[in-house]
């Protein structure tokens, strides 16, 4: 039996409450205005409050339904955003070619092991094709190779 606070719904409820309360508190500085002339803070405060309330409901529902926290596939969860991060950091410095190859190889490693021949082949074919599509056909000004560190 999972403990109450360690169950999936309890965690979800706490997260919901935290986001709601955080937004409501942050937005209370924006100025509530009057009902006739709503200030910029009115709507976010209401939404944050509602969300915190729904969080309480979820927490309440968790009393009954103690589902265990689901497994998290750590490898793809870490590697996939990392591949995207690498693209964002490399693109302005090396151009689309090297950034694209690194992204494809990194993303490919999200499943298992080191990149195999087929992955290298994919990178070699796909990256130039994507560059041609975006830079030439759609006119997005992005160099294939650059070197500005």
């Amino acid at each position: 039996m999972t403990s109450y606070l360690g169950s999936k719904d309890a965690v979800a409820g706490l997260v919901t409450m935290a986001i709601g309360a955080g937004v409501a508190i942050a937005a209370s500085d924006y100025g509530m205005g009057t009902p006739r002339q709503m200030g910029p803070g009115f709507f976010p405060v209401v939404l944050g409050g509602l969300m915190a309330f729904v969080g309480v409901l979820i927490l309440f529902g968790a009393l009954r339904d103690r589902e265990a926290l689901p497994d998290v596939p750590w490898r793809p969860l870490v590697v996939m955003p990392l591949a995207i991060l690498a693209f964002a950091l490399l693109l302005p410095r090396t151009g689309l070619g090297p950034a694209g190859v690194v992204t494809v190889l990194l993303a490919g490693m999200a499943q298992r092991g080191r990149p195999g021949v087929s992955l290298w082949l994919l990178a070699a074919l796909l990256v130039p094709a994507v560059w041609l599509l975006f830079a030439r056909l759609l006119g997005v000004p992005v160099p294939f190779i650059a070197w500005t560190f």
């Binding site: 709503m38 939404l47 689901p70 969860l77 993303a107 499943q111 992955l119 796909l126 997005v140």
Partner: protein, 512 residues
């Protein structure tokens, strides 16, 4: 403008070379992602949304819509041949489609589902043609208070009729509304929830959200599930494509019933991508059948009705989206996003003020469905081959396309970083039970909701009774309250061990 003139205008618009081309691209891409389990049409539409920046509004919508209904055709192929649903809405096709394939009737099942898809779509398109203009006329009389309440109903419905727990759906919807607030408030100029980052001044792009929540998280989940072994090859020979006379005789009524159920369900808000339509059609069919025990063993009606229904729903979902500006599910929210990108305000005015867009899109549905009918059967061998593309090569390509696509929007590295961050956070939230579809709906409707609230209160001099004094608005709010009461009851009601029917349980499982 009369109906004939409208359709003529639509035909002229849809038959331009450009729109025909984008229609073809749309339905082909849709067909491919529909066939491939592991990439949904939402991911595909998000992936191609950056392209819509570079083409006119009509062509963009024609293409995106084509992906959607094209995927409905393709989805059943994997269900029948591999017992793996290509899209969520075709999960129910597995129940009778796969047994048919095991009996050597795969070809005939594919033929029947193609015809059912075409029939269901056509029925819903005809309903769309006749229903949309009068609906838009009625909606023209709506005031901001009515709009506000209608959006509230749409959001509450999307949150509570979700796949998982209703309370989590509502929380996701509220989170979407909150993300929609990020940026400069147009009325006061105040910066809201930007955390001091100037890049967030203009808010978060819908494409960034869609890419992160539908593209990357889906890939992470598929890889995490050890997906990607590649399908076993199943051969379909030409000889088995023709259904037998007995099989033909079982199709007409399921076709009609499925189309009726699908068209109706597609009109409702929050019914999500045709899955509900196909499951309801299956249940209706089983009840109407004289031999319900044969369902699940390869009953022809068991594939005909759901397939007709999910295609009908895919088309009729456009009715509230285009005439009222209220999207029923995440895909329709993306369609509205594409309209907004092109500076077209969604709502009843689209029908009257951009008739070429509206009618061109409607006629393109007919043309696209014809293309699919023609593409589907002769290319069946090609679709079977596509099923064998290894997923481990597919997903790095998807990630690369997401990166380049997001960057191409504004040439902003920040947006790419945002996708990386949102996909990681989004994945964890989804594992906790948050849902992407109501979140996206909230995100799209948030700014409009606030604007209509502000306008209504300004009009009534701050008196909130305006929402109850107008009958239209009061009705919508009343329905929302009923729905919320139902959700609340679900939380506080005494526990019973088996309070879920088998249908809703199997539905939930297959949509995971």
């Amino acid at each position: 403008m009369g109906l004939i003139e409208s359709l003529e205008l639509g035909l002229v618009t849809a038959l331009t070379l450009e729109n025909l081309f984008y229609c073809f691209v749309g339905v082909s891409v849709g067909m491919i992602v529909g066939v491939l389990p592991g990439i949904g049409h939402l991911a595909a539409i998000s992936l191609l949304m950056p392209l819509t920046f570079h083409v006119p509004a009509t062509a963009a919508l024609v293409m995106l819509a084509g992906i959607y209904y094209g995927a409905q055709y393709g989805g059943s192929i994997a269900s029948i041949l591999l017992n793996l649903p290509g899209t969520a809405s075709s999960a129910v096709i597995c129940l009778d489609g796969y047994p048919m394939a095991q009996k050597g009737r795969a070809g005939s099942a594919l033929m029947i589902t193609t015809i059912a898809s075409f029939f269901g779509s056509c029925v819903a398109i005809i309903v769309l043609i006749f229903l949309a203009p009068p609906l838009a006329r009625i909606a023209m009389n709506f005031q901001s208070a009515d709009y506000f309440s209608m959006m509230v109903l749409g959001l509450v419905a999307a949150g509570s009729i979700s796949q998982g727990k209703p309370a989590m759906g509502l929380a996701s919807m509220l989170l979407g509304l909150i993300i929609g607030l990020v940026g400069i408030d147009v009325n006061s100029g105040a910066m809201r929830l930007t955390f001091g980052m100037p890049e967030l001044m203009d808010g978060v792009s819908i494409i960034v959200i869609a890419m992160a929540l539908f593209g990357v998280t889906e890939v992470i989940a598929s890889v995490g599930n050890g997906f990607g072994a590649g399908g076993k090859s199943t051969t379909v020979t030409w000889g088995t494509l023709m259904p037998t006379r007995d099989e033909w005789r079982q199709t007409p009524w399921p076709l009609v019933r499925g189309a009726a159920v699908g068209t109706g369900v597609g009109l409702l808000p929050g019914t999500g991508g045709g899955s509900m339509a196909s499951f309801m059609a299956y249940a209706v069919e089983k009840r109407a059948s004289r031999r319900p025990e044969t369902f699940g063993t390869g009953n022809v009606a068991g594939i005909t009705a759901p397939e007709s229904a999910n295609n009908a729903a895919a088309q009729s979902a456009f009715i509230p989206t285009l005439t009222l500006g209220i999207p029923g599910d995440a895909i329709m929210a993306l369609m509205l996003g594409a309209l907004l990108i092109h500076g077209i305000a969604p709502g009843p005015r689209v029908v009257t003020e951009s008739p070429d867009l509206f009618w061109g899109l409607v006629v393109s549905f007919l043309i696209g469905n014809l293309m699919l009918l023609i593409l589907n059967i002769p290319l069946i061998q090609l679709w079977v081959r596509i099923l064998q593309i290894p997923y481990r090569l597919l997903f790095p390509a998807i990630i690369l396309l997401i990166c380049v696509g997001v960057y191409s929007l504004e040439r902003s590295v920040f947006d790419v970083l945002l996708v990386a961050g949102m996909s990681a956070v989004g994945f964890v939230l989804m594992r906790l039970g948050f849902e992407a579809a109501p979140l996206l709906l909230g995100f799209i409707l948030g700014p409009m909701l606030e604007e209509n609230l502000r306008r209504s209160l300004l009009l009534s001099r701050g008196d909130p009774m305006i929402f109850l004094e107008r009958p239209v608005s009061a009705t919508f709010l009343g329905l929302s309250v009923l729905m919320l009461a139902w959700v609340l009851w679900g939380v506080v009601r005494p526990q019973r061990p088996a309070d879920e029917t088998t249908t809703s349980k199997s539905m939930r499982e297959s949509m995971k």
